[in-house]
């Protein structure tokens, strides 16, 4: 599993260092968390559980406002503080960003497994934060301590997403007013942990990608945050990758809903889209462009359409004479015609080969194959070649005769061969001509047999005659 994640990570790296470098914004605050863990495990879980739960339920396109409310009231204090915390990603969070959290950060007991969980769940902050950001000042905030680090990461994420960065002063710390909710959500977490976590991971992965898109495009004002986030999120990369491949559509809905809500943001839609396309791997991370439908279905449709158009382009190169053709239907018609013509050509050639070669032996394979592939257009080599092929079976004295016989037999066939050598797609009239050729070949064969019967030494040729010429 680890190896796979690593591979995935490596693949992503290959797509662009910037992508892998700022993996997920959520990971940005993992290091601060791990380095100075101040959250208890329960707090973290409670903190994230509602968001998890909500995300789990929001896999289907739902009223975004509702989800926001839920996430907001879950007491997450991950409201974006304002400007992204530039320094928070690596190492400690020495002091709260200026003008943000006026309160001190209470310290929470650290569990042994807490760090792990915090690290894993910290990314949820980003997703949940996003939902909350929309709510602005009306959001309730959990104790700032647990939020501080998360907020930083969330803030960074939010900035990346160009979501509204709301002043945190408005947020009232309602403590854990939603205790009941949290309890419920905790239980939910247990049940739906994997799914929601994966969903959130996917979200974060998408955020990461969008962040990478931003970084690549240098379009958003939150580049600072993006840069910092980049370094810090590498640790989370592996775990993220693991779940990235999981539910993607569920996260896409919420994420894209966010985007539609915040169209005012100068998100370089084009840029993001290009980057997201570049970042596509097994599972595709797609970003809804500005003004596009962000249904999960339509997104999947768009992905599918892009794949198909990609393949159609490739087919256009393959099929000769289709570079100017535009449109899927016409292209498909051309492809079908081409395949049919190729199949007809195979059939025709096999008939020709059956008719032409009763006298010839194909025992020389190695040099024959090479020569064939080299010289399928050159007649000069063919001449030399046929002699090579005839030689082992025909006595030297008869060689000239066999040659002559074959060449005489094939003179009419030259006329037929020329149209075949061109790559013109054959029409249905082809079959009729082939039948005519077949007849003429039969005549030629008879001629050849008669010819071959004269010299008594051409025993092999004689043996092949179906009607049994007596020697």
């Amino acid at each position: 599993m680890e190896a796979k994640e690593n591979n995935q990570f490596g693949l992503e790296k290959s797509h662009g260092d910037h992508i892998s470098s700022h993996s997920s914004g959520a990971a940005g605050f993992v290091t601060p968390l791990t380095s100075s863990p101040i959250l208890s495990a329960s707090m973290v879980e409670a903190f994230f559980a509602p968001s998890l739960w909500n995300h789990h339920t929001s896999s289907c396109p739902m009223n975004f406002g509702e989800s926001n409310i839920q996430t907001a009231t879950s007491g997450i204090n991950c409201v974006p503080i304002g400007k992204p915390v530039a320094m928070s990603n690596r190492g400690m969070l020495p002091s709260p960003p200026p003008g943000e959290f006026p309160h001190s950060l209470p310290h929470f007991p650290v569990d042994s497994g807490f760090i792990e969980r915090a690290a894993r769940l910290s990314c949820f902050g980003g997703s949940s934060f996003r939902g909350i950001s929309l709510f602005g000042p009306s959001q309730s905030m959990a104790p700032p301590s647990d939020a501080s680090k998360d907020v930083n990461g969330a803030r960074v994420l939010k900035a990346e997403l160009n979501v509204v960065s709301l002043p945190v002063e408005h947020g009232t710390i309602k403590g854990i007013t939603t205790n009941s909710k949290r309890d419920r959500s905790i239980s939910h977490v247990g049940t739906s942990n994997n799914e929601s976590r994966e969903g959130n991971f996917c979200e974060d992965g998408q955020e990461r990608h969008t962040g990478s898109a931003d970084a690549a495009g240098n379009s958003s004002s939150s580049d600072l945050g993006a840069n910092k986030r980049r370094k810090a999120t590498e640790e989370m990369e592996k775990e993220k990758d693991q779940v990235l491949r999981a539910l993607q559509s569920s996260t896409e809905t919420t994420k894209n809903n966010t985007e539609t809500k915040h169209k005012s943001y100068k998100h370089s839609g084009k840029n993001a889209k290009d980057n997201s396309e570049a970042a596509k791997e097994g599972y595709v991370h797609v970003r809804a462009q500005r003004g596009q439908a962000t249904n999960s279905h339509s997104l999947a449709e768009r992905v599918r359409r892009e794949k198909i158009s990609e393949r159609m382009k490739y087919l256009q190169e393959l099929v000769p004479g289709c570079s100017k053709v535009t449109g899927k239907a016409v292209m498909l018609d051309e492809i079908i015609n081409y395949v049919q013509s190729l199949q007809r050509q195979v059939e025709f050639l096999s008939m020709k080969l059956a008719a032409v070669n009763p006298q010839l032996d194909f025992s020389i394979e190695g040099p024959l194959a090479k020569n064939l592939l080299h010289s399928h257009g050159g007649s000069s080599s063919a001449a030399g070649f046929s002699q090579e092929m005839i030689y082992p079976q025909v006595y030297s004295s008869q060689q000239g005769l066999a040659h002559a016989g074959i060449s005489s037999m094939l003179n009419p066939s030259d006329a037929f061969r020329r149209p075949m050598n061109t790559e013109i797609p054959m029409t249905s009239g082809y079959k009729e001509t082939s039948l005519q050729m077949h007849n003429s070949w039969n005549e030629q064969l008879v001629m050849q047999m008669a010819y071959g019967a004269n010299p008594p030494l051409n025993s092999q040729v004689i043996n092949r005659k179906p009607d049994g010429f007596t020697i």
């Binding site: 087919l315 059939e347 007649s379």
Partner: protein
């Protein structure tokens, strides 16, 4: 004569010689020689065998990397096992481009459907994969056609 062929070898670039092409050529030629040696066949039977050998060499050169080649190989093997060709079974095991009766036109309205019938193994693929397989199939078919033409050229001179 040998010099001529060697000249061709020297002057022609080796870039076209993909190992799969060589495999295709050698397989096809071996099959051809085998077919030529059986003298009891009628013309039609021989041409059918050559056609099957062509598709077989195509499928073998690609191996199992592609869905269409697997489907082709399956068809070929099932055909070879048919002692008494059942017209019903033969329909499923029919090689592409085989003799087909006049098909009712209304069945082939959809282009994707037509393509699915053309490409071996295409009936159980979604559109995206179908296009991919069709591209590979077209490439391989083109190679096979060129190979057969080369054989024709070299033989019939």
């Amino acid at each position: 004569m040998e010099s001529k062929s060697s000249d061709e070898n020297c002057t022609n670039p080796n870039s076209e010689l993909h190992p799969s092409k060589l495999m295709m050529a050698s397989h096809f030629l071996r099959a051809l020689s085998r077919i030529q040696q059986t003298t009891t066949d009628s013309f039609a039977g021989r041409s059918r065998k050559i056609r099957r050998a062509a598709y077989a060499s195509m499928a073998y050169s690609v191996g199992t990397k592609r869905a269409w080649s697997c489907a082709l190989l399956r068809k070929l093997r099932s055909r070879s096992r048919l002692r008494f060709p059942n017209p019903r079974r033969a329909k499923y095991a029919a090689l592409p481009g085989g003799p087909r009766a006049a098909r009712p036109q209304q069945r082939e309205m959809d282009q994707a459907e037509v393509l699915r019938e053309l490409v071996p193994g295409g009936t159980s693929m979604d559109d995206c994969r179908l296009l991919e397989e069709a591209a590979d199939y077209i490439r391989c078919l083109g190679t096979q056609v060129r190979l057969m033409q080369a054989v024709m050229d070299s033989v019939s001179f």
